[in-house]
C-alpha cells in the first residue's frame, strides 16, 4: 500500500510540475514537454526490460530510435516514381546479393570441416566478392536516383501509407536489426556488449547520414504526413472558433494546442498499452525466469534455462519498444534529421532516466523519463536564472559575467551528471525501487 501511495504521489507532483509550466510559461510548451516525456518514457521502458529485468547493457538506443524514424519515411512518404524507372530494383538486388554472400560465409563457417585458417581466407574472399559485386550493381542506379531533383527528392521515397502504420513497422525494423545484433554480440561480456552496441548504433547513423537514396542523408526528409489534423485546417473549423471565443486566446495557439493534445492522447494510449504488457510479462513465469537469469546465470543455466535464447528474446523485445518510440518521435517532429541523433541525447540520457527512475520497475522508468526530460528541457532557463542570480552584483559589462551567461545552457550537462552520480551513490535503487516478489 505504501508503495502505491509513493508512486501516485510522484506522478501527481510530476503533473503539477508540468502544469506549472503551463501556467507560468505557456500551455503550448507544457504540452510539447509532455509529449516528449511520454516518448522518453517509452524508450526507457525498452531499456528497463533489457537492463532492469535481464541485466543486458544496450547502448544502442540511438540506432534503434533512428530505425524507427526511417520506418516513417519508408511507410508514409510518396514514392518517387522516376526512381523506380532509374533502376531502384537493382539496388535491392545488389543488397540481397551482399546479404547472401554473408549468409553463405556464415554457412561455410558453421558447416564445413575445413581448417580454421582456410575458413578465414574463404570467408574473407566471399565477403569481399559480395561487396564489390554489390557496389558494381548499385553504384550507377544510386547515382541516377540521387540525381532526380536532388533539392526535392533524390531518394526512393516510401509506400504512401498512413503514417501510424510506421510505428509498428518501426518496431519490427528495430526488432529485425536487434535480432542480428543480438545474435552476434550477446555472447560478449557486459562492457564489451555496451561498446559493441554503441559502435553498431553509430554505424546505423552513419549509413542513414550518407545513403542519400534511402533517407536523403543530411538533406533530411521534411513534411512527413501526420496522424492528426493540421493547424491550418483546424483554424477554419467552427468548433475551434467557438473554443477561441470561450477561452479568449488567439486561434493559432488554440489550434496548435488541439494538435498537441491529440498527439498526447495517442501517445498515452501506446504508453499505457506497452506498460500493461510489460507488467503482465514481469509478473508471469517468464518474468521470474528473466530475473533468475539476471541474478544468477550459472544456477539458472543449471535449472535448464536457455540463457542465450532468453537474452536474445529480451534484447529484441526491448529494442522493438525503442523502435516504436523512435518512430513516434519522428512523426511528432514531422521530419527525419539524421544529424540530430547524438549518443548523449538518445543513448545516455535514456540510461539516466532508467537508473534514476529505478531499474527493474516499469513505473520507475516512466517517472524517470518524465522527470529527466522535464529537467533536460527546463534546466536551460533554470541555469540561466541561476547564473544571473549569482552574478547579479557584477556589472553587465564584465567579461566573466557575459561569458558565464553565454555558456549557462551547458549547465544542464553538469546537472544531469550530478543527478546520475548522486542517485548511484545514495539511492542506487532509484526513485521507485524494484518490487521484491
Amino acid at each position: 500500500m505504501q508503495d502505491k501511495q509513493h508512486i501516485i504521489l510522484l506522478f501527481l507532483s510530476m503533473f503539477i510540475l508540468i502544469a506549472f509550466v503551463g501556467f507560468f510559461q505557456s500551455w503550448n510548451l507544457a504540452l510539447t514537454i509532455f509529449n516528449l516525456c511520454i516518448i522518453s518514457s517509452v524508450m526507457s521502458l525498452g531499456i528497463n526490460i533489457q537492463w532492469g529485468n535481464a541485466g543486458i547493457v544496450n547502448f544502442g538506443v540511438m540506432g534503434f530510435a533512428a530505425l524507427g524514424g526511417l520506418a516513417n519515411i519508408i511507410v508514409s512518404m510518396p514514392p518517387t516514381a522516376k526512381a523506380w524507372d532509374a533502376g531502384a530494383i537493382y539496388i535491392i538486388i545488389g543488397i540481397i546479393i551482399f546479404i547472401l554472400s554473408i549468409i553463405f560465409s556464415i554457412l561455410v563457417w558453421l558447416k564445413s570441416e575445413l581448417s580454421k585458417k582456410k575458413k578465414y581466407i574463404i570467408n574473407f574472399f566471399l565477403i569481399i566478392l559480395g561487396y564489390f559485386l554489390m557496389r558494381y550493381i548499385i553504384d550507377s542506379p544510386i547515382k541516377a536516383i540521387e540525381a532526380i531533383e536532388p533539392a526535392k527528392t533524390g531518394y526512393l521515397g516510401g509506400l504512401d501509407l498512413p503514417v501510424i502504420i510506421s510505428w509498428p513497422i518501426g518496431g519490427m525494423l528495430a526488432a529485425l536489426i536487434a535480432y542480428v545484433i543480438g545474435k552476434i554480440s550477446l555472447g560478449l561480456r557486459s562492457d564489451y556488449l555496451a561498446i559493441a552496441t554503441l559502435g553498431i548504433s553509430e554505424i546505423i547513423i552513419y549509413i542513414l547520414k550518407n545513403e542519400d537514396w534511402l533517407s536523403r542523408g543530411v538533406k533530411n526528409v521534411n513534411g512527413l504526413p501526420r496522424p492528426v489534423p493540421y493547424e491550418i485546417d483546424l483554424q477554419s473549423e467552427l468548433w475551434v472558433l467557438e473554443l477561441t471565443k470561450f477561452f479568449n486566446i488567439p486561434v493559432s495557439e488554440i489550434s496548435s494546442i488541439i494538435v498537441k493534445l491529440s498527439y498526447s492522447c495517442i501517445f498515452l494510449l501506446i504508453l499505457i498499452g506497452i506498460l500493461l504488457l510489460l507488467e503482465i510479462a514481469q509478473k508471469s513465469p517468464w518474468g521470474r525466469m528473466m530475473r533468475a537469469i539476471r541474478d544468477n546465470e550459472v544456477s539458472a543455466n543449471a535449472m535448464g534455462k536457455d540463457i542465450k535464447t532468453r537474452h536474445l528474446q529480451v534484447f529484441v523485445i526491448g529494442s522493438a519498444i525503442i523502435g516504436i518510440a523512435g518512430a513516434m518521435l519522428t512523426t511528432l517532429d514531422g521530419q527525419f534529421t539524421p544529424v540530430t541523433y547524438q549518443p548523449l541525447r538518445f543513448t545516455f540520457l535514456i540510461w539516466i532516466m532508467v537508473i534514476i527512475g529505478g531499474s527493474g520497475n516499469n513505473f520507475g522508468s516512466i517517472i524517470g523519463g518524465f522527470l529527466i526530460w522535464f529537467f533536460w528541457v527546463q534546466s536551460e532557463p533554470l541555469g540561466l536564472w541561476f547564473i544571473s542570480q549569482i552574478t547579479a552584483h557584477i556589472s553587465d559589462t564584465n567579461i566573466i559575467k557575459s561569458h558565464l551567461l553565454e555558456n549557462a545552457a551547458h549547465i544542464r550537462l553538469m546537472f544531469m551528471g550530478m543527478i546520475l552520480l548522486i542517485t548511484l551513490r545514495f539511492a542506487p535503487k532509484g526513485l521507485i525501487p524494484e518490487v521484491k516478489r
Binding site: 547493457v57 554480440s185 562492457d191 564489451y192 561498446i195 559502435g199 553509430e202 552513419y206 551528471g417
Partner: protein
C-alpha cells in the same frame, strides 16, 4: 620515377596522417587500458578527460600569448603541456576521490562503475563547455610546416609533393618519448612492477605489502598524463571542439579492444591498426594507379572502397568484427569478470 611518385603519394596521404592519428589513438587507448587493468572498469569518461587536458592547455596558451612569452617558432601549447598535465591529474584525482573511490571500496560490479563513468562524462563535458564554450578553438601557433610540398618538389624534382605539418612531427616524436617512458616505468621501476602485480592479482599484491591507495594514485597520474597529451595533440592537429571528444571515445575503445584490452603493447598496435585501416579503406586510389599502371589500363571512378564520409564508421566496423571473431584482441588481454 613513376614508382617514386606513387610512393610519395602514399606517404603523404596515408603513412604520415596514419602515424599521427594512430599515435593520438594509441595514447588514448593506453589510458583506457591502464584504468581497465588496474581499476577494473571501462572508463567512458576518458574522452572528456582528454578534452579537459586540452582545455587547460588552451587556457594556459592564451595566458602565455597574452603575457608575450614566446619560444621562437615552437608551438606554445607544447611548452605549457607540463602545467596542463598537472591540472588534468588533479582533476582525475578529485574525480576519483569523490566518485570512483566509493565503488572501489564497495567492490561494485564493473558495469556499475561503467555507468558511473558515464555520469562523470556528462559532468566533465558540461564543465568544459561551461568554462570554454562549445565553439571551435584553434590554438596552434608558431611554424606550421616542417616540410612544404613546394620545397619538396623543388628539392627532388618529383611531381608529387610531400608535406609534413609541424603538429604531425610533434605528435609522433612526443608519442615515442612518452611510450618509452611508460614502458620503462612499468617494466623497470619497483613502483611499476608493483602496479603490474596489483593488476594481476589484487589479493596476492596486498599480502605482499603493496599499498593499494598508492597504486591507484599512480594509475591516475599516468592516465591523466596520457589523456592530457593525447587530447592536446589531437586538438593541435585537428582544432579543438568539446563535442568531437565525445565521439573520439569510440575509436579509442576500438583501438584498445582491437589490440587486446589490458595489454599496453596491444593498445599501441590497436591505435595504428584503426588509423591505417580508416585511411586505407577510404583512400581514393585513382591517382596511385595513375602512376603505376599504363594509361589504357586505368579504370574509371575514384577506386575507393568506401566513401570518405564513412571514415570514422570504419573503426566501429573493425571493432565489431574483432569483437565477433576474436574478443580478446590481437594480443591476448586481460579478461575481468
Amino acid at each position: 620515377m613513376e614508382f617514386l611518385n606513387s610512393f610519395i603519394l602514399i606517404t603523404n596521404y596515408i603513412i604520415i596522417p596514419g602515424l599521427t592519428y594512430g599515435s593520438q589513438l594509441a595514447l588514448g587507448a593506453l589510458g583506457i587500458t591502464i584504468v581497465y587493468t588496474v581499476l577494473r572498469f571501462s572508463n567512458f569518461a576518458h574522452g572528456e578527460f582528454m578534452s579537459f587536458g586540452t582545455m587547460s592547455t588552451i587556457l594556459l596558451t592564451w595566458v602565455f600569448i597574452d603575457s608575450k612569452i614566446k619560444f621562437g617558432t615552437f608551438p606554445t601549447a607544447i611548452i605549457v603541456l607540463p602545467l596542463s598535465i598537472i591540472f588534468t591529474i588533479i582533476y582525475c584525482l578529485l574525480v576519483d576521490k569523490f566518485v570512483f573511490k566509493f565503488y572501489r571500496q564497495q567492490k561494485s560490479k564493473s558495469v556499475i562503475a561503467l555507468i558511473v563513468s558515464i555520469g562523470v562524462m556528462f559532468f566533465t563535458g558540461g564543465l568544459i563547455r561551461f568554462i570554454i564554450g562549445p565553439g571551435d578553438k584553434n590554438f596552434m601557433d608558431g611554424e606550421r610546416f616542417i616540410l612544404k610540398a613546394k620545397d619538396f618538389k623543388m628539392l627532388t624534382g618529383l611531381d608529387e609533393g610531400l608535406t609534413i605539418k609541424s603538429t604531425q612531427g610533434v605528435t609522433i616524436i612526443l608519442t615515442i618519448l612518452l611510450v618509452i617512458l611508460l614502458f620503462w616505468f612499468l617494466n623497470k621501476t619497483k613502483t611499476g612492477k608493483s602496479m603490474r602485480a596489483y593488476s594481476d592479482n589484487q589479493e596476492l599484491a596486498l599480502l605482499s605489502g603493496i599499498n593499494p591507495e598508492r597504486i591507484v594514485l599512480i594509475t591516475w597520474i599516468i592516465t591523466g598524463t596520457l589523456a592530457c597529451v593525447a587530447g592536446t595533440l589531437y586538438g593541435l592537429d585537428k582544432s579543438y571542439k568539446p563535442f568531437t571528444y565525445l565521439h573520439l571515445v569510440l575509436p579509442i575503445f576500438a583501438a584498445a579492444i582491437v589490440g587486446g584490452v589490458g595489454n599496453p603493447i596491444g593498445a599501441i598496435i590497436g591505435g595504428f591498426v584503426i588509423s591505417f585501416s580508416e585511411l586505407l579503406i577510404t583512400f581514393a586510389y585513382k591517382k596511385f594507379f595513375f602512376y603505376i599502371l599504363p594509361d589504357n589500363f586505368l579504370p574509371d571512378g575514384l577506386l575507393q572502397i568506401l566513401s570518405t564520409d564513412y571514415k570514422i564508421a570504419v573503426s566501429f566496423i573493425i571493432l565489431v568484427l574483432v569483437l565477433l571473431i576474436k574478443p580478446t584482441g590481437i594480443y591476448k588481454g586481460k579478461i575481468i569478470e
